[in-house]
Subunit: 342 residues, 4 copies
């Protein structure tokens, strides 16, 4: 039995998912597509034969569509489609961030709790990266003792002029905000954003680059994160967890090593698509398998809310000159204690 | 349109392919299974719902089966199923070695040429490993100059008592024999097997371990290969190509690095399944896509024959005390010049 | 012409210097030794033939002693010997910290300025480590653009019970405080010490472990430093400088790589003596060569004062709960602008 | 008591030793110098104050010279000075190769045995490299089981036009010939030189490049060595010893790692002087300490002879088209069983 998927929003991310369904994913087919820009929907139709829906809500409502993928921009537009899917009892994979406000996340969370069944998976694909999975295993096994400190760096080669200081947090740092919360299995107590005085000359108006983020968890694990999105050098994601008896650190996969011109070289990829292709594929397959098993297992709407609330604290810290702010999380509903990603 | 696959032989390799079709591959379904041991076929049926065929030839002949995967043991049993598939104009993926004699390969090759169409893909999955693909790219691009030397090591942690000195060549070294032939895009001129006097104490009756293989290509590239299948340390596949201006070497993918107990550690996998999972998945998807496109692109029956003839030269060298033997390859038929893997 | 050196204080560090002079250093001989514990001085005399002075000041004053090495404990005892050497116009190498108070450093600085000639070298040996020298070269050359961020970790395997939270700063972090000031060629504007709530179970009464130090320089380079002195894993010194166009990071020298038990391993040394042997040797030779050339080139008394003042700010930050404190440095005297290590 | 050294031959190697004595070595002074080219001797005199001897034999005979360093070219000129030193009972460090013929080595060996005392150290400095020392330790300890195979590569960036195919063996491969003999503590049984058909376009008339050397020891350890002296890429010395339970491989020391332009880079040095500076310094200090202790500990004249005889077998193999040749070593004299480097 092949799952019939519909995608709403086929920009970069959505059209990559369309290709993924058509070429890579097991057990699913691309049945529908919707986009505000008709040419985009048409292109997907032409390539993969998906039916076009002018209105995304119609796609959600069509009984010929078994489950929905939401990849619209801007992110606040996710909300309506996710809510409609919940209303109809359909599974939905929403790109991250789930939506842009804690209030918006809350609406989705409440609707899902009311539906009495997990229906939403949020596209925090890093959790599916093999490296993060190995870190998770090291934390859970306790073989290196307790985790104490985490040092992270998120580096992009360049950003377009439209990318601004807010996006360093809510588009970029949000990946670490989510994945570290998942790795540690606990919430943040405080958050801090520090803007170092010295910036790269490769930044632009409206973007403070690099930025420093600090997070402290309830148990007292201290996290620092460098966000540097115009580093000119590569897409370079670092995460080192320091335990009581050792350290485990991400290593970007290398297939070969080259010796040339007086150096031995490992490649640093230029793009996130190369670095996290495996994570995206695994995430998407997990969604399809979850729907097939009638039991989603990935990041929840509550994870989406936790990320939103934490980013809000990071903004507040930044706007108050770098003071440490409490992360004011509501209590985790029993529904999400029962339904969380292991 | 989903491809209906049938598998003949569901031992370790075949049942892994069954799982792959069911869980990972895009565009195919497991429709049939056959095995001389009824319990094995039954287990696959129970798990994945495939129809059981007592006789593998019946599976090949069933119009409900679009294409065939042959993973029977011993390897000489591949031949009949491959020939039957060719006769019926059905695509077939045969595990490596295609068959165990040059004469057997020749029969398949002749049948395929007579059929006038590529129908056979041989399971030399290393060609699909990302590392070897990067090496291939470096050779083709010429950016490091011409390849001159290749140093390889194929290391297994342990082997069962049944594994003998012949298998070091025809089960193990055959991987390098095939993949280097592919990487370089040329044939071997000579082959040599040297048995070093000193052996590991972890070997057993009938197995000389380690062994040294040397191959020289028509253009004069010199290759050495250590085959060491009880190294107690890990599954460790090395390939370093030395060019005029640099070197490129395989690096087993690492997702994390651990620091513990006064050392910084990369993992060496214990099993080939971990090391080459990506290669197996990509190989199999290429077969399915090839069938869907009515145009196979992978390793050919001719590649199977080349490997067989080269292994025969390696045996002859070994049996004559390590002298360099000519590799007596018949001329490549035009059919396989037109149809080879790029 | 061989330089006649006298050492005051032959505990761990001082007796290692004695051995160094006898076995490794070019152009010097160990002529005198003094220690409050007579057995220690006697042992050095017995091994290397150095004359024993009961009172260290007598050693300084003896015309048979050309230059003096001060390695006494506790560190506040350095001051008197250094001042006496300056008074007599003799060159002196003082172990770090130069002395334990900014006021003490000031006295030495004033005496040296009054003497009108550089006479003091402070034992900040990290500056001579080949790795830090390569980082220095990268900063000075500008080939990676401007330095923006520095991530450091200073990790010891274990500490004795006497080691306390103050020593994390003034014995340990002081190395980074000095060497980063040297690498960047600028002063610190602010300093912060943060005590993460979660500590290792391998710490002891009176020691908060790990600790986080942050420093921001006048130009705005942001530095974070993990000080973790009971990490159970090894002596592991990390320093990554993030530039506008790349990164350079320390790598502890490796002479070999071992593959064993499913892992490929680089060694992490257990002891600073192994990690920084080259730095100690080079530092000491630089002192001897400086004396021979009548022109010291190493870390100055002013560098000793800068380190002291910065550590004081780190203490103040810690005692006020982790607030960022200004580093209140007096203006650099012209004498030390003219006389600083390149 | 400072050792008064005299150097005969101050080309590249000899003048580097002169500098080493003056700047780095403990316990020695440069007292004399001799060179056929008067300007060279004069330059050393001017820099370091050494007395000039027109005739090297006069230097050896002068009672003001305690021990002699022979670094003359061509290598066959070593013999007379070494023999004269032995005759006078003076210690002598001779650059490698000790001399260019087995017969010449034999004369020195016989003279030393007749003298009844070790007086000669041969400049096989690789034995003092920390990496090779760690390999030696792994072999001696047996912690990885028995050594079975050794894979080596000796790569130079470029060679001058005067460098020819013979020099690939007697100037270059001789380093591995000696150091592996030392590491394994046994002699070679057979030797083979293979000239791959395909050569680099960066070679020149008279130089087959690369070349392959194979050596098999008495116990049956099999060694392969790539000699590639115009690799355009760097000075890159590889040695991987494969044991029954693991592998240990040389790693050129790295002080830093750089990330730039989509790659993470370790440096490969351009010159042997950088790669083996530590080995040269340690070797030389060992000679000076050996003289001071009246007991040399380094490579012996017999090691020089072993290397010569082995190179002769490599030449014979090459000249007979790559057949495996016996290494016809005379029995090791008891004198050298009693006097060998541990
Ligand atoms: Mg790496
Ligand atoms: Mg590696
Ligand atoms: Mg490393
Ligand atoms: Mg390395």
């Amino acid at each position: 039995m092949t799952l019939r998927l519909g995608i709403i929003g086929v920009g970069t991310m959505g059209s990559d998912h369309a290709r993924r369904i058509a070429e890579t994913i097991n057990g699913a087919t691309l049945a529908g597509v919707s986009d505000l820009i008709p040419e985009r929907a048409q292109a997907i139709h032409d390539k993969f034969g998906a039916k076009i829906y002018e209105d995304g809500l119609d796609l959600v409502r069509d009984p010929q569509i078994d489950a929905v993928v939401v990849a619209t921009a801007p992110h606040e537009t996710h909300e309506q489609f996710v809510l409609e899917a919940i209303k109809l009892g359909k599974y939905v994979l929403s790109e991250k961030p789930l939506t842009t406000s804690a209030a918006g996340c809350r609406k989705i969370v409440d609707a899902e709790i009311a539906a009495g069944k997990r229906l939403v998976q949020v596209g925090f694909m890093r959790r599916y990266d093999k490296g993060y999975q190995e870190i998770r295993k090291a934390i859970v096994s306790g073989e290196l003792g307790e985790p104490l400190l985490i040092h992270c760096a998120h580096r992009n080669m360049t950003t377009p002029p439209v990318y601004n200081s807010d996006m360093s947090i809510v588009e970029t740092a949000i990946h670490e905000v989510d994945v570290l919360h998942y790795l540690l299995g606990e919430n943040y107590e405080s958050a801090l954003t520090f803007l170092p005085k010295k910036q790269t000359r490769y930044t632009h108006e409206g973007l403070h680059d690099p930025q420093i983020v600090e997070l402290d968890t309830e148990s007292g694990v201290h996290i620092d994160l460098e966000v540097f999105v115009n580093n000119q050098m590569g897409y370079d994601i670092n995460c080192r967890v320091v335990f009581e008896k050792g350290e485990i650190a991400l290593h970007a996969p290398q297939n070969t090593i080259v010796k040339v011109a007086e150096s031995e070289r490992e490649r640093i990829p230029a793009e996130y698509t190369e670095r996290f292709r495996q994570a995206y594929d695994t995430e998407f397959q997990a969604f399809v398998d979850g729907v097939a098993n009638d039991a989603l297992t990935g990041p929840t709407a509550w994870d989406g809310l936790v990320a939103c609330v934490t980013c809000d604290a990071l903004f507040a810290s930044r706007d108050e000159g770098g003071v440490r702010k409490q992360v004011e999380l509501p209590e985790t509903p029993q529904f999400y204690i029962d339904n969380h990603m292991d």
